[in-house]
């Protein structure tokens, strides 16, 4: 019976009603001495999901905390030009097999989506769950060029780096990577620097932090004097993070608090970091909504260029103006507007007919708001 006990301890206590109530009260105690409403950005889409699914948003409002969604959805922030380059490739060449995560296939662009595009004979788009599955496709289809179109933050990047390294070790000549890889700390810096959105603190993404640890956020506390806390994904985890931020605000002592210590080590995952460093280098990348940010993207180092789909197929990844009339994804990702502020929300844009990536990804703020709001119930 021991395993049962441990699993209960590891999961259910983070959802118990009394714990949630006590945490909300503790947060109220902090904010009542401040006499104002705190605005805290949850960077990660999975946190957005926890907040909506467990009905915490209105309760937090009562406790004088407004949560603002941030850019933490890799599908959402990947600019259309990546998808368009893939669409151009599979519609102009035979025997290209593109493997990608499911959400990526439904992102609407001016050239349609990966799901709606009609590839030339022999070419196809496949959904995979892990980058290693893409590698397996390359082993099994030696007559095809297999491209893994990988989008992700630090959480996913080590898995992708590992896979590319293995492809090199196996000398798999028909495998390559289209890297849509994004780093969270530079994006936070861009948000803070722009000063467009007033926030009192951040809830840092728990599983990004598993890889990068606490040090990566230190500049937020030191340079921008902004509080922050790493949090897990159970309701009580998120509230613990919010409590920590509220306390830091009250005490005027911004720091990088780790409220997910059962999973996040201060130094991150050294093996994963070393692998990222070995395989990838930073460049000035373009984010949907946030624009160009220095050192915010990762691409393969020149040593691995034979595995880089951009070089191998001469892909043009050049962000233009997105052609989605009225879609406000960009502002949603910056925390400037809420999904309901978009005139298309729930009208011409819903999960069956998404007009922007924020309504596609299960981490997208629009899809989450739609699923857990009256938008869906009214249908």
């Amino acid at each position: 019976m021991a395993p049962r006990k441990s699993s209960r301890e590891l999961f259910s206590n983070w959802r118990s009603g009394s714990t949630i109530r006590n945490l909300l009260q503790a947060i109220s105690r902090e904010t009542s001495t401040l006499n104002r409403t705190l605005r805290i950005m949850e960077v990660c889409g999975t946190h957005t999901m926890t907040l909506h699914r467990s009905g915490l948003k209105p309760l937090l409002r009562e406790a004088k905390v407004v949560m603002v969604s941030g850019p933490g959805c890799p599908v959402c922030i990947t600019p259309d030009c990546f998808h368009e380059a893939i669409i151009d490739l599979v519609t102009s060449r035979k025997n290209i097999l593109v493997a990608t995560f499911g959400d990526m296939t439904r992102v609407p662009t001016a050239r349609g989506s990966l799901q709606t595009t009609v590839p030339l004979p022999g070419s196809e788009i496949r959904i995979v769950y892990s980058p290693e599955e893409a590698l397996e496709l390359a082993r099994k289809n030696p007559e095809k060029e297999v491209i893994f179109f990988g989008a992700g933050f630090e959480t996913t990047i080590p898995a992708i780096a590992f896979t590319v390294k293995r492809a090199a070790a196996e000398n798999l000549k028909n495998f390559s990577l289209l890297a849509a890889l994004w780093l969270i700390p530079p994006a936070l810096e861009a948000i803070l620097q722009s000063g467009e959105v007033a926030i009192d603190g951040f809830i840092y993404p728990g599983h990004v932090s598993v890889i990068i640890g606490t040090r990566a956020y230190r500049f937020v506390a030191e340079k921008f004097k902004t509080p922050g806390a790493i949090a897990g994904f159970e309701p009580a985890d998120v509230l613990l993070g919010i409590l920590s931020v509220a306390r830091q605000v009250r005490e005027g002592r911004p720091e990088v608090a780790n409220q997910y210590r059962r999973v996040v080590q201060a130094e991150g995952n050294p093996r994963a970091l070393a692998l990222m460093d070995e395989m990838l280098e930073p460049y000035e990348a373009d984010w949907r909504g946030l624009g160009r940010i220095k050192n915010s993207g990762l691409r393969l180092k020149p040593r691995w260029q034979e595995l880089d789909a951009v070089r191998k197929f001469n892909l043009r990844i050049q962000p233009g103006k997105p052609l989605k009339l009225g879609c406000r994804c960009g502002e949603v990702l910056k925390g400037l507007v809420e999904p309901v502020d978009c005139p298309l929300f729930g009208r011409s844009c819903d999960p069956d007919h998404p007009r922007g990536p924020c309504m596609v990804s299960y981490e997208g703020a629009c899809l989450i708001a739609y699923k857990y709001s009256s938008g869906a119930r009214n249908k």
Partner: protein, 76 residues
């Protein structure tokens, strides 16, 4: 995308892989990013890779903190 699920390592399968049990469903995961992982450990798996080990001592510490909050909150 960064959703990652905790599961329990039930066997090591060689070549840096192992079987991970998610409350009944067993899946093969790549354990290469967690060199010290052992059978019986709880791990967080993302995109097929175990990325972190769950530290039960820390989990218990947080649970204790929840208990302490209980004392601080006025009974209803």
């Amino acid at each position: 995308m960064c959703l990652a699920v905790p599961g329990k390592v039930v066997s090591l399968e060689g070549n840096g892989t192992g079987k991970v049990d998610y409350l009944g469903t067993t899946v093969l995961a790549n354990l290469s990013l967690l060199p010290e992982v052992k059978v019986g450990d709880w791990v967080i798996v993302h995109a097929g890779f175990a990325i972190s080990r769950l530290d039960r001592k820390e989990a218990r510490r947080t649970l204790k903190l929840f208990k302490e909050l209980e004392k601080l909150s006025p009974a209803e």
